[in-house]
């Protein structure tokens, strides 16, 4: 896991209460029952605090899985490469 993965994992653990085993790019609201629209707002707040990345509401609304969050962060210049 890269340092930014760990950072993102910590945000998701705090908001969604997931374990590392659920930190999977394909996992989204269907797999993680704590992930609803309010949780998405809280994830966005966490990304802003930890990565300095301000997520556009339109992007926020399109998030379907953890992989989408990473893609959005990559677009904001955050690297997930080891």
């Amino acid at each position: 896991m890269t340092p930014n993965d760990e950072k993102l994992m910590r945000i998701l653990e705090e908001v969604l209460l997931i374990d590392e085993s659920q930190y999977n790019d394909d996992y989204g609201p269907d797999e993680i029952e704590t992930w609803d629209s309010l949780a998405t707002v809280n994830i966005a707040a966490g990304l802003e605090k930890e990565f300095g990345y301000s997520m556009d509401p339109e992007v926020m609304a399109e998030l379907e899985c953890i992989g989408d969050i990473k893609e959005a962060l990559k677009g904001g210049g955050v690297s997930f490469q080891g």
Partner: protein, 489 residues
């Protein structure tokens, strides 16, 4: 009269009218649902369910949920509607407390395997015969629904609602909101709760169409659906509309301009957001109503017509009576408990002496309020210890009991913390065993996640040295709440 009879009357009047659009876009006419629900009624009978039996229906928002629900009502059963997110131990409590014969779920879930009486919704109803029309709703059963609410002691209470209660509510809402057969509603509300469900009762009575979404998510697409499906009604919670008004106001203005009405319920809405809603959709009638499961839709207001009353929840609905304080000497312009009477009020709680919850036939709501000289009611807060998370309610004790099971919790107390979106959120004060840290906070929240419904999980956990209590051992929650506001500053 059984509320499913309303549905049958509509089927006979307009069988080919579109009734439901499922989350996957599949469309069902009244005749389609009628046929499927009659088949399901037969299936229930084959499973040994007879009139006046109680069955739990625990589904997410879906077409199948309504097939089960109507099937149960056709069978003259009492339906216990349980949120699909309910934890196994709570479902089992509802099953035993409710004297339930079968509980019906859409799919197999291993963690529920040990609960007796499970019935999984079948893949296919094709080979099952429709229950004959003369057998539908053929036995008198005064109780249509039982819905569990958080009790003041932390033990959920089953609220019994009769067909007559629900018929009154249908009539009442239809009259003041002017809902017609040509209306089309988009709902994201959980339909195992009365706010959303009562709307569907109205639509099946008048012959309208309901588009069901499983969750409140993907808001831009949701708003697009308002245009694409010619939606005229969009009920929701204050928290949901706050997100829309803060983040998607332009899209809402664009797609919502043909909405006939918006109805908000479940929790208070800040006046600035009421105003924002009126400004965003000036041609849409914007209603708020106040009630509780025990007395749904007790007061209402149309804010478009009452712009000086934005802080209020309106006046009593037709047939409902509301007084503040005591029935003999009701208060005006003073704060007291809200008391409600009327044909919509519950017949009582399942299996317990309900007399302490009533005074001379008036339901004691546990809410405090004030009535002004024009009869408008302002909701002021709660007398009962209850937390309201955008309409989903719980008592502090439910969470405290779970936290106390954790080996590192010596003592704890739970209070409502103000939340900018949901109005309130759960905050837990914990006296820890050993030195606390962030890891323990997350561990405790995860511990709650395994035992409680998601909305009951504390959003924040604060570690303190001792829980303030009175000499008699009662938690001084006001002091803890003050501590929370101190933290914010």
């Amino acid at each position: 009269m059984n509320i499913a009879q309303n549905f049958i009357s509509t089927v006979h009047r307009q069988p080919d009218k579109l009734f439901l659009i499922g989350p996957d876009g599949s469309e069902y006419t009244f005749a389609d649902i009628y046929s499927l629900a009659r088949k399901f009624a037969t299936l229930l009978a084959q499973e040994g369910v007879v009139p006046n039996d109680r069955v739990i229906i625990t589904f997410p928002n879906s077409v199948e949920y309504f097939i089960c629900y109507l099937g149960a009502l056709f069978n003259s059963c009492t339906a216990l509607l349980v949120d699909f997110r309910t934890r196994p131990q709570h479902l089992d409590y509802f099953r035993t407390n409710g004297g339930v014969k079968r509980w019906i779920a859409p799919k197999h879930r291993p963690e529920f395997d040990n609960i007796p009486g499970q019935m999984i919704y079948p893949d296919n109803l094709a080979d099952i015969d429709e229950m004959p029309e003369d057998k539908l709703c053929s036995v008198e059963n005064p109780i249509a629904l039982i819905m569990y609410t958080s009790g003041s002691t932390g033990v959920p209470k089953g609220v019994c609602l009769g067909h007559d209660n629900l018929q009154h509510t249908i009539k009442s809402i239809s009259s003041w909101a002017n809902i017609e057969g040509s209306d089309r509603e988009l709902t994201t509300l959980s339909l195992t709760h009365l706010f959303g469900l009562a709307h569907v009762h109205i639509y099946w009575t008048h012959g309208g169409t309901v588009y069901i979404e499983e969750k409140f998510q993907k808001i831009p697409q949701l708003l697009q659906k308002i245009t694409d499906l010619n939606i005229t009604s969009f009920p929701g919670t204050p928290g949901g509309f706050k997100i829309i008004l803060d983040q998607f106001r332009d899209q809402f203005h664009e797609h919502g301009k043909n909405l006939k009405y918006i109805i908000v319920n479940s929790a208070p809405m800040a006046p600035e957001y009421v105003q924002k809603m009126l400004d965003t959709l000036p041609n849409t009638r914007f209603y708020m109503y106040y009630g509780l499961t025990e007395a749904s839709r007790s007061s209402y207001i149309c804010y478009n017509d009452n712009r000086t009353k934005l802080v209020t929840v309106g006046r009593p609905t037709p047939g409902a009576e509301i007084v503040i304080g005591t029935p003999d000497k009701p208060l005006r312009n003073e704060i007291g408990e809200i008391l409600i009477k009327g044909p919509h009020v519950t017949k009582g709680y399942l299996g317990i002496d309900s007399s302490e919850y009533f005074i001379d036939g008036w339901l004691k709501t546990g809410d405090s309020g004030r009535m002004d000289d024009d009869g408008f009611i302002t909701w002021e807060g709660r007398i009962k210890e209850q937390i309201n998370i955008d309409g989903l309610k719980l008592t502090p004790m439910e969470v405290e009991e779970v936290l106390m099971e954790h080996k590192r919790v010596k003592d704890c107390a739970v209070v409502a913390a103000p939340d900018p979106i949901t109005g309130e959120a759960v905050a837990a004060f914990v006296v820890p065993e050993g030195e606390p840290d962030k890891k323990l906070e997350i561990e405790l929240r995860k511990f709650c996640k395994d035992k409680l419904e998601v909305y009951k999980i504390p959003k924040q956990i604060l570690f303190i040295d001792a829980i303030p209590r009175t000499d008699s051992g009662k938690t001084k929650r006001i002091l803890l709440k003050e501590q929370l506001s101190g933290e914010k500053e």
